[in-house]
């Protein structure tokens, strides 16, 4: 019986060494995950939906019937009809075209803001989790400060300070959301660093940088992927709120957020103007959420928080 245990132990070691060598690219792991994901029909449907939305964003110039900034003064706030399926806005711009083009901004805001958040969050989280002690204390306090700071005020200050622009919006949204990533990564790294194979590589003289970048972060990859997919819709929603305060995407660039905030005045007069970007946000957010949930279940059936 003890031999069996030994064999099991060896197997486990092989597995972990494999991870160490190849990162999470360990085919068995991702192969299994993908199999699990494929079985989740809802998640797969949402994945297709997301691909579709991204395609719409990429091919916006082909798909949109009008230039999204073209102002047709003869058709201001036109009701939906054959020329303008969703009507026009208060400048006579075609709402459908603006929704199609808006996907570019909204989707890229979601993705880029999450990349920013992940870069900051993973770095600080991993450092805090790995070193512990004073370093951890300081980084944890910084995280608490960021978390406790009222987010809209922070966004207003950042956007006023840096000036409004898509790039700055990315940064502001990233700064608003990195703490969640950092917390999760910190927790994971704290657990992982006690694992035997990390101890082993440390004993073998691996540098700290190597351990963090090659040993620890790849193992947090599934957590990161899940956080990113679930964080993207969050960023899209944030942009809508910021636009409502006039500090989101600046005219004439359409985003779903600034459309919905501009449309609120006309909600009873031209309901579609307000509803359509809202529906676009909702579909995207739902798709990202369900896909993210599916991904989480597939990557790590145990991780459910």
């Amino acid at each position: 019986m003890s031999k069996n245990i030994f064999r099991f132990f060896n197997k486990q070691k092989e597995f972990e060494q494999d991870i160490l060598k190849n990162g999470m690219g360990y085919s068995g792991f991702y192969g299994d995950s993908f199999k699990r994901l494929k079985k989740n029909r809802m998640a797969m449907f949402c994945a297709m939906l997301l691909i579709l939305i991204i395609l719409v964003a990429v091919f916006a110039p082909v798909l949109a019937p009008y230039d999204p900034t073209y102002q047709d003064y003869s058709a201001v706030l036109a009701s939906p009809g054959p020329a303008h399926p969703f009507g026009t806005d208060e400048y006579g711009r075609d709402i459908l075209s603006r929704i199609i083009y808006g996907s570019r901004v909204s989707i890229s805001i979601g993705i880029v803001a999450q990349v920013v958040a992940s870069l900051v969050g993973v770095t600080l989280g991993a450092v805090a989790g790995y070193y512990g002690g004073k370093t951890d204390s300081i980084i944890s306090r910084i995280m608490e400060i960021f978390q406790a700071f009222p987010d809209l005020i922070f966004a207003m200050a950042i956007m006023t300070f840096m000036g409004k622009g898509v790039l700055n919006l990315f940064i502001a949204l990233g700064l608003l959301t990195w703490v969640r990533t950092a917390r999760m990564i910190r927790g994971s790294v704290m657990q992982l660093k006690e694992k035997e194979y990390i101890e082993a590589s440390r004993a073998n003289g691996a540098t700290t940088f190597w351990i963090i970048t090659k040993g620890l972060i790849p193992n947090c990859l599934s957590t990161i992927i899940v956080l990113v997919t679930l964080g993207i819709p969050n960023a899209i929603m944030y942009e809508a709120s910021l636009s409502f305060l006039g500090i989101g995407i600046q005219p004439p660039t359409p985003s779903w957020g600034n459309m919905i905030s501009a449309a609120q005045t006309f909600i009873s007069y031209r309901p579609l103007y307000s509803i359509m970007p809202g529906v676009a946000i909702m579909i995207t957010v739902i798709a990202f959420n369900i896909f993210g949930d599916g991904l989480r279940d597939a990557l790590d059936p145990k991780l459910k928080s």
Partner: protein, 542 residues
Amino acid sequence: MKKKFAGAFLLGAMVLSLAACGSSTGSSKPAAESGSDKGAAVTDAAKAQTTAGGEKTVRVAAVDPQVALDPQQYTYSIVMKITDNITESLLKTKGDGSLEPVLLTGMPEISEDQLTYSFELLPDVKFHNGETLKSSDVKYSYERLIKMAKMATLLENVVGYDELSAGTADELSGFELKDDTHFTITLKKPYAPFLSVLSTAYTAIYPEAACEEAGDTWGMQTLYGTGPFKLDSYQTGVGAVLSRFDDYHGGPVKLDGVDYKFIEDVNTQVLEYQAGNVDYVDVDPSVYPIYSGNPQLSSEMHGFQPTGCYSMTLNVKTFPDAKVREAVALSIDRKAICESILHGTATVPTSYIPAGIIGHDDSLPEFEYDPERAKELLAEAGYPDGIDLRVTVNTKYQGNVAIATAFQEQAKAAGINVEVEQVDSAAWSDMKHSGGVDCGISNWYVDYSDPESMLYPMTKTDTNSSFWHNAEFDQLLEDGIATTDTAERQEIYAKAEHIMTREDWATTPLYNETKYYLLNPDITGFEIDSTFRMFWKDADIQ
């Protein structure tokens, strides 16, 4: 007022205030008037302001001023909307621009040299705190205005202004008290709009003793005037409650009170009107088509033309060449903005000085949209490939953002690449002063019906973001205020206007708007004037 913020109350207060949810929030509303709170039950048909107690209270949807109700300190029109019914100035400007005495027995006598004005106050005018209006209260109020600094320059032509303003004197020496009801004011030089100045809300008369006593709380917790209504309560974010002043010198007031409800969101404001919960609401141009097309509401919608205009101002430091400024002026399609973006609530102007004001010349052509000519001008100025233009707008005024957005598209034809920069009020005022605004969109309304009120920002201070100075223009304005003959003044100001808007293109008028508001048809006698001042004095509910 030593309520200190303590964390310990957190949990307790959470529970308590949940329990207190049912009760009204403090004493902000008199009990008898609570009928108007039954918003839920009031339907459109039963739009009745006469509440259960038989009171006649008008409910006004207003924007939260967020500051003390003291125009001497805060010069916003939303402050005056409220205070004009509480406090009074010596004179009042009527609809036709003429003046009438309010707290005076008659129009003041003016000396031959146009320098000394003699006033006689009405006897027995009572302040809300029961005190009687005296000459010393007038003197106090004017001195306070100067000390408060914000609108002090209104009185800069009074003898002794400089000393008081600089702090070298304690009193305004040009103000001479004769007795409790008589006083004179002496000017340094003739100043035509002087009496108009004394009709503005900034020169309202406060009771000296009470105002001194109140200190910082003046306009917050205490505000006494001689007006038809007393201030019962004022709370930023909530509202202001006014009730009838029974000892009003101007005869009986018909309404029992005016209830200003601060509703920030324009949609919510109109929804509340439609639901019958408020009797007056301003209609933002952006929502105009929604209500003009609604037969039920269009009959309750009224318009008036405020004296002033929207304009676009270029920073002369950034764009020193008048040709470039002219090109920009030619590349905005005012007609499209008036007819489409503003749904016909505005007209294309012919001059910066609006109609009804001395100096306005309606024989001039409308400002035009000519991108081709604009291109030529830019080429002449050395920009054959066009220019980049950053247009800064204050997000507080969403209408300005809309104009900038439209201009952005229109200016493409002239080769002008517009970037719209939205900033909040604090950044906007700061940038204007520091020269950070290359091109700003703003509006300006007169404080009193005189061209000087329209034009002074262009010369006296650099607050209008243009930093434009023209010696001839400045001299014309000096001449203008020293002249009393209307025909002469017309000529002077028309010339000044021409220099500003058609020669130097320092600022370019965009449109003159018509303001709309919805008013409960049962209300009569309501007055709103072209300087946005709103009077409920003679109003009644049928």
